[in-house]
Amino acid sequence: MLLLLVALMGIGLLVLYSATENDMGTVWRQVVRLGVGIVAMVVLAQLPPNLLRQWAPWVYAAAVGLLIAVAVIGVGEGAQRWLDLGVIRFQPSEAMKLALPVMVAALLAQRPLPPSTADLLICLALIAVPVALIQSQPDLGTSILVGLSGLCILFLAGLRWRVIVGLGGLALAALPVLWYAMHDYQRNRVLTFLDPERDPLGAGWNIIQSKIAVGSGGLGGKGWTQGSQSHLEFLPEPQTDFIFAVLAEEFGFIGVVLVLCLYGLIILRGFHLASRCRDSFGRLLAGSMMFMFFVYLIVNVGMVSGLLPVVGVPLPLISYGGTSAATLLAGLGLVMGLHSRRRFMG
């Protein structure tokens, strides 16, 4: 597992070097962040799961409190997403990505599975509060991801298919309501996704340029640091959200398949570890963590290849940026910790 992660991060740094116009400074900063993430992963891996279960309500409450604080005193351009703590700027919605699954898993693990209707309603409420808070920042992408992480636990906990189908139907029915509740820029993104050529130099630019970068890569790619789309500034956000397009342009289809295989192996290995946890808390939490890892991957790569709308979701462990990598590594740490301690679970 660790080997796979290191290989993936290694490739990520390679691509980042190219995407930053050969700026070693940025690459070193990312190395440091990944290092911090790995430390967090190792520390969390040592955390006794019982302690985690006991703290769950407090962690959850704290995260919700931070989200409320963001709404009141937060900072950010356009959207209020950050808390300025003087030393570092911190995005509480990231913490919620861990806090919510922990809370839901802790709650459900106390009850027999599959969950009862009452438990289901409590869980849905627990999920709805942070989702609503994050959506109001506004940050549609993160709010959906956080919501999914909670729903995933419900699914793993054995929610009945007819309830799932019912909830799905409800969600579909809610789409028009959601559309109404969306901010203009969010609606724009959806429209642009449906027809990028609507505004090729404006909103559609990102999707079009990303597809050109990917498509022009061909089978073997243009070679490391040779991508014209990324190096001539046609590709937006080449170091963060669209870093996969840089990879696809410079290393071609072969590089894409290789990296997707690495991701696939990490996810399958993660599911394997999760399913072998002794207690249901571990299984639910670890499963959710791995599922979210998968969702990140799908949303980001789907966006880069024009299959999904542009949502600000970074590519796991490769995109430049500290918070996301730290969260993911911390989540993976939880998975490892939960797995390695299974034998001590009663």
């Binding site: 597809k211 289809f253 997707l260 499963g287």
Partner: protein
């Protein structure tokens, strides 16, 4: 399943089985999703690769046309008449501004931007893409450049761009010869080769600039450059340098040209001086002129209206298009025909009583000198410009023979000078009159044709060309602006015929009773000439050179045009000229001194 108030019993095994099933389901989802993604990339990178690769190249590679430098125009001594001067212009890249109209408003607080400049900018902007720069104001002054340079960094999407601007150092002295270049407009676009004018902003509009456009313009170069998304050039991939236009040396002597203008002073008129052997134009003056530099970057409407409304018509090219009655300057040509057809000899004497009547007609055609000239032979008739002599000669020749002789000297058709749209004048013939008026030719019209009145219209250029042919005993070359032409024999007469007429023309300036006696003192060599007066105000026959006092009392715009043709030196002529002074009154008192003074200057310069 019944609900109990107590907790249901936990069944660890079945819970694990349940979760296990769900994991298996998720694994299937993950694998399918990854294959779907793989399929998507296979489509983009393998299936549609060529299409996207082409679009990536389209993105980064841009073709830039490089404008060729326009050829210089020089005078015969190598002095620069039209050059390309470094200048600065203000360009705006609409895409990079923070609000286009705000940016322009902001700029207009720094430098004046006229309404027409804004309009032109707007037209150009609509034709170009948002990342392409559009000219807002050309030919910035040093002061404007300085002011913009300070503020430019606060204004996005604005640049000061160096370029070469056509400049005419001699301004209005040559406006009607060299012409000017102007912005390419819709009409130009229709006739110009788009490939050759890809990077061009200007094209020759009038004069030499227009006539020799193909030679002066050159061929554009091409650059294939790699640009980033903002359109900034990063790398030159390939460069084919532009081929500059060829320089053009004119036959004009700018010093002589300026002398001619100086001699004319504030009088409107035209002067053409030709080299008799080669047809080279040494001076081509239409005065007043205008400043061609004003047209290069677009003349303001009010300035243009002022030029159009100016009563002395500075925009009108008099030597090329101006149609004037030749007046008495036609007499030497009639004399040649009379001698050729044996109707007169140099010794033939005619009594000039002061008026002439056609046999059987009452109408009296008067001489400009009321009391007449007494007995005159050809020499005296030319020297004193005796009308009766030429009334009678014209009637004896008849209009057909007159037209034939005048046609030989090039009247009534273009001379072939290298300028666009030359005027043809009018050479009256029977057939011309029938076509024009549907009437037969009347004998009375032949009478007044004898003194250059009636239908005959000549341009100053035709007049000078005919004079050159006369001075060259029938031999001269077509007027040219770009080097010597080939000598041709336009008219064939015996030497004694030419000499008889030369004798009379010399007496005009040197004889004791010549109409232009006195001007010969201005010139070191002997000169020959003929004065003429073209009527503006409708009197039929009683005007001539000495009638100056009466002319002085008329308002300027009703005064007659003063004409003079001449050549020098008398014994071996090298230069011929025509002078028209509009509303000058009499040719003798006004045009002849101008001509003599200019001949003196030309001789001082060695022509």
């Amino acid at each position: 399943m019944a609900k109990s108030s107590t907790r249901r019993l936990r069944d660890e095994a079945s819970e694990q089985r349940l979760t296990q099933n769900r994991f298996q389901f998720l694994i299937v989802v993950v694998v399918m999703a990854l294959f779907a993604l793989g399929g998507r990339f296979a489509y983009l990178q393998l299936g549609a690769h060529e299409q996207y690769a082409a679009r990536a190249d389209e993105n980064r590679i841009r073709l830039r046309a490089l404008p060729p430098n326009r050829g210089l125009i020089l005078d015969r001594q190598g002095r620069v008449l039209a050059e390309n001067r470094p200048a600065y212009r203000l360009v705006v890249v609409p895409e990079r501004t923070r609000g286009l109209s705000e940016t322009i408003d902001q700029l207009s607080t720094l430098i004046p931007i006229s309404e027409s400049e804004r309009e032109r900018f707007e037209v150009q902007r609509r034709r170009s893409r948002p990342f392409e720069s559009v000219i807002l104001k050309s030919s910035l002054s040093e002061d404007e450049v300085a002011r913009l340079a300070i503020e430019r960094h606060h204004i996005d999407g604005v640049e000061i761009e160096p370029y070469l601007q056509r400049h005419y150092p001699y301004g209005d002295a040559l406006a009607h010869v060299v012409g000017y270049v102007g912005r390419i407009d819709q009409r130009d676009l229709e006739r110009l080769d788009p490939d050759r004018y890809r990077a061009a902003t200007h094209v020759g509009k009038t004069g030499i600039e227009r006539h020799f456009e193909a030679r002066l313009h050159g061929y554009p170069g091409l650059e294939r450059v790699e640009t980033n998304a903002q359109g900034r050039v990063l790398r030159l991939l390939e460069r084919r340098p532009p081929q500059p236009g060829k320089d053009l040396t004119l036959t004009i002597d700018i010093e002589l040209q300026r002398s001619a203008i100086e001699i004319l002073g504030d009088q409107a008129g035209a002067i053409v001086m030709l080299d008799i052997d080669t047809g080279e134009s040494l001076a081509l003056v239409s005065h007043p002129g205008f400043d061609p530099n004003a047209f290069v970057h677009g003349i303001a409407q009010e300035d243009y209206n002022a030029l159009l409304g100016n009563p002395s018509r500075p925009l009108f090219n008099r030597f090329l298009f101006g149609g004037y009655e030749p007046g008495s300057t036609i007499k030497p040509f009639l004399a040649l025909a009379g001698l050729e057809y044996g109707l007169i000899t140099p010794e033939t004497r005619i009594f000039s009583s002061g008026s002439y009547r056609l046999p059987g007609h009452d109408r009296e055609y008067r001489d400009w000198r009321r009391e007449g000239h007494g007995w005159v032979d050809l020499e005296l008739a030319l020297a004193e410009s005796a009308n009766v002599y030429f009334y009678q000669l014209a009637v004896e020749l008849g209009i057909d023979r007159i037209s034939r002789e005048l046609a030989l000297f090039g009247f009534g058709r273009e001379t072939g000078l290298d300028l666009p749209g030359e005027g043809q004048g009018v050479l009256p013939t029977r057939s011309w009159k029938r076509a024009r008026f549907g009437q037969p030719w009347y004998p009375g019209e032949t009478v007044i044709t004898g003194i250059g009145q009636g239908f005959t219209v000549v341009t100053p250029l035709q007049l000078a060309h005919a004079t050159a042919a006369l001075a060259g005993r029938g031999w001269t070359a077509a007027p040219s602006l770009v080097g010597p032409g080939e000598q041709v024999r336009m008219v064939a007469h015996d030497d004694w015929i030419w000499e008889a007429v030369f004798l009379g023309m010399a007496a005009v300036t040197h004889g004791p009773t010549g109409t232009a006696r006195g001007v010969a003192d201005l010139v070191e060599t002997r000169i020959a000439g003929k004065t003429g007066t073209a009527q503006v105000f409708g009197r039929s026959d009683d005007i001539e050179d000495a009638d100056q006092r009466e002319q002085d009392e008329l308002p300027v715009h009703l005064r007659n045009h003063a004409l003079f043709i001449g050549f020098a030196p008398l014994d071996a002529p090298t230069i011929a000229l025509s002078v028209v002074v509009e509303h000058g009154g009499g040719g003798a008192s006004v045009a002849a001194p101008v001509a003599a003074e200019l001949i003196a200057r030309a001789q001082a310069l060695g022509y």
